[in-house]
Subunit: 416 residues, 2 copies
């Protein structure tokens, strides 16, 4: 019974805090923003979410399901020449009207991190490039127009990878999502306020750069003029605000793409497109990752860096205290959506336009000269730990502590 | 092991005989023609079919899944005012390009015949009318352009309704689909030839009418000039032929909508949109069903007859010998797709244009004056049994036996 109760509370938080579904809205549940339909293992959660959506006044809940097994069957049995055609083209035709109308879009993530472990990596990469290219406009429309949210839910294969029973995995998800609290929605309201306060503090500080120091890491990440720190709280054009991730523990901004220098060592493995990259470091000079080496998955890492012009430059820098519930769960999820909320992280690839004041209105040239990066990829990886110090560098080059041994080094005004 | 083997052979027959998938074709699997996505209970069959499609040279297999439970959640929790909006609008946007391109489209049917038994019948009817209306163009495009096929596969709820275990239900499906034969594809080639021979014989006879006689039934169904008898073998514009149903035991033609007279008693219940209509008779005068009465589901039957102008007139007449494997299975499936292949049947509603020579090219007026019916619905119901005699009425009014006590009264030339 407690599982069903928690599942219902999780669904409630997703609908009210994550999506903030409005009366009369259409809701799309799927994973279009991850280039895939949704696994039917998620049916029990989806049914709860659908009911909560209708109770919130949604006029229609549509779900686009998929079967990851069919992607494997295609990789193994289709003519390899055909793999460059995106296998879920129909998903774009189906989802685009939702994205264009500004409906609510829920992405439920849960997949086997090793799904493609036994497949030809070149073929997998061709398949994933096709997906990235084909879904670009859809994803832009979702991010621009809709109240969208990504959440996670266990699957059998994912649980197995983590060495957890499904029950235990769900308990972890409920805990980090605060769904096991008496009032998850109140807990999230408090959390959102806390994140926003930290973001406001950091924006007001207007540091020139952040300096990350930890074992294997001595990295300076320059910040553009007028950069803005934000949480996952996102306003859409009609004024509705929602949280684009649940759970979320980060505040983040846009780095200056040409002012990153030093070496950084990942503090956690990264699951990228069905392959795990682990034990890796990158060295940056004037923003560019000039060298990189991974103990595991090096070939995929090099491929990732060579994706396009912008894939060797940073597009995000994010701060997460080491005491975050996700970090405290002690679970490595092999999924950025969750793992990035366990540690400070940076991302290779495209930067969010709203990380620089006025960024959304800039031309491509203005954006680049302001320090904003552009790329087809955006891949976060984790660099933080309990051994990390982060300093804010002010205009005179003085360093102030921001995180000390993984924890906030400043306090923000408490909730009224 | 024998289950997996039969499932694979079933998939093989579906791909080779049902769809006749061509090298380079895209394949869509779903149930768009039934206004619904496909239940994920069918994943094991779908995966076999997908592999067989790739082996046949398909360039892509896309599957549109659904969850019937979500339709129930909508009926129960959404604002009733919103139910007139088709709940799977996305399916049309997703499936239309496949239908327009003339891809292969597989419909896998398997649902709970009592799904809506506890719901408000008026609301269910509004929902189903919306689906019929919204998918009309999609269905027309599928029928016109694609090599499409409808097959059946068990689900838990359907098995329960039939009082069968899932294993037993699958055995029945394998048997009636000839998937348990050594060479199912050869068995289907023979069956198709047999059906075509009977259709050719009946077309050459050019009867003015058929006269059906059985307990509770004395019905004369007039046939238009130049009517054509056909099997489920269907040519598409590019010349590919395929079977639109698997299994199939019927030959059928288009009746003259204004020349149907007498009374007919259904020999089996009819599951219509989640409600069972049973123990029913209809009386026709000059083509129109002037009265009808059902012992069970009468309200739904009356609603069905009042759907539109053409819903009280016939759009199909079909002959099936009582010894058909489906009839011999002794199972009432509560699903026309299968039940109609157990017995002679007639359909209320729209007629197939190709049932009259040149029908496809006729204007609406020409079609109507040739005797062809038009309606948004097409609902078959079973009238045949081992006690039915069917006579062909020639131009002079003489009657020749066509079926005697349920079996063919003539023999066609054997296979060379």
């Amino acid at each position: 019974m407690s599982f069903e109760k928690n599942l219902e509370k999780y669904a409630g938080a997703i609908v009210k805090v994550g999506l903030n579904v409005q009366p009369g809205q259409r809701v799309l549940i799927g994973t279009p923003i991850l280039n895939r339909p949704i696994s039917f293992e998620h049916a029990p959660l989806v049914r709860h979410v659908a009911r909560k959506c209708y109770e919130a006044g949604a006029r229609m809940v549509s779900v686009m399901w998929g079967d990851p097994e069919l992607d494997l069957i295609r990789l193994r049995h289709a003519d390899p020449e055909t793999i460059s055609e995106f296998q879920h083209e129909w998903l774009i035709n189906a989802a685009m009207p939702f994205a264009e109308r500004g409906d609510a879009i829920l992405v439920i993530y849960g997949a086997d991190p090793d799904l493609y472990a036994d497949e030809d990596p070149d073929l997998v990469s061709i398949m994933q490039d096709a997906a990235q290219r084909s879904t670009r406009d859809l994803r832009l429309n979702i991010v621009r127009n809709t109240n969208w949210c990504i959440v996670a839910a266990p699957t059998e294969a994912w649980a197995k990878k983590l060495g957890l029973s499904m029950d235990k995995f769900w308990d972890v998800i409920f805990s980090i999502s605060r769904a096991d609290r008496d009032d998850p929605i109140k807990a999230w309201d408090d959390q959102v306020e806390m994140l926003q306060s930290h973001a406001t503090y950091m924006t007001q500080k207007a540091y020139q750069a952040l300096h990350f120091v930890a074992p294997g890491t001595d990295l300076t990440v320059g910040l553009p003029d007028n950069h803005l720190w934000a949480s996952a709280l996102s306003p859409k054009p009609d004024g509705i605000t929602n949280m684009v991730n649940l759970p979320t523990e980060e505040i983040f901004t846009t780095p200056h793409k040409d002012r990153v220098n030093g070496t950084v060592t990942a503090s956690m493995p990264l699951s990228y497109g069905g392959t795990v990259i682990a034990d890796f470091s990158l060295t940056f000079e004037n923003g560019r990752a000039v060298s990189a080496k991974a103990g595991k998955g090096d070939k995929v890492l090099q491929k990732l860096l060579d994706s396009d012009e912008g894939s060797r430059f940073l597009g995000e820098v994010a701060l997460v205290p080491h005491s975050s519930p996700i970090s405290q769960s002690g679970v490595l999820f092999y999924k950025t959506l969750l793992d990035e909320n366990a540690a400070c992280h940076i991302a290779l690839g495209s930067a969010y336009r709203n990380g620089i004041d006025g960024g959304s209105a800039m031309s491509e040239e203005e954006w680049a000269s302001a320090g904003g990066n552009t790329s087809l990829i955006h891949v976060d990886f984790m660099i933080g730990s309990g051994k990390m110090d982060v300093f804010g560098v002010d205009a005179s080059g003085n360093e102030e502590p921001v995180l000390k041994q993984g924890e906030w080094a400043f306090t923000v005004r408490a909730r009224q």
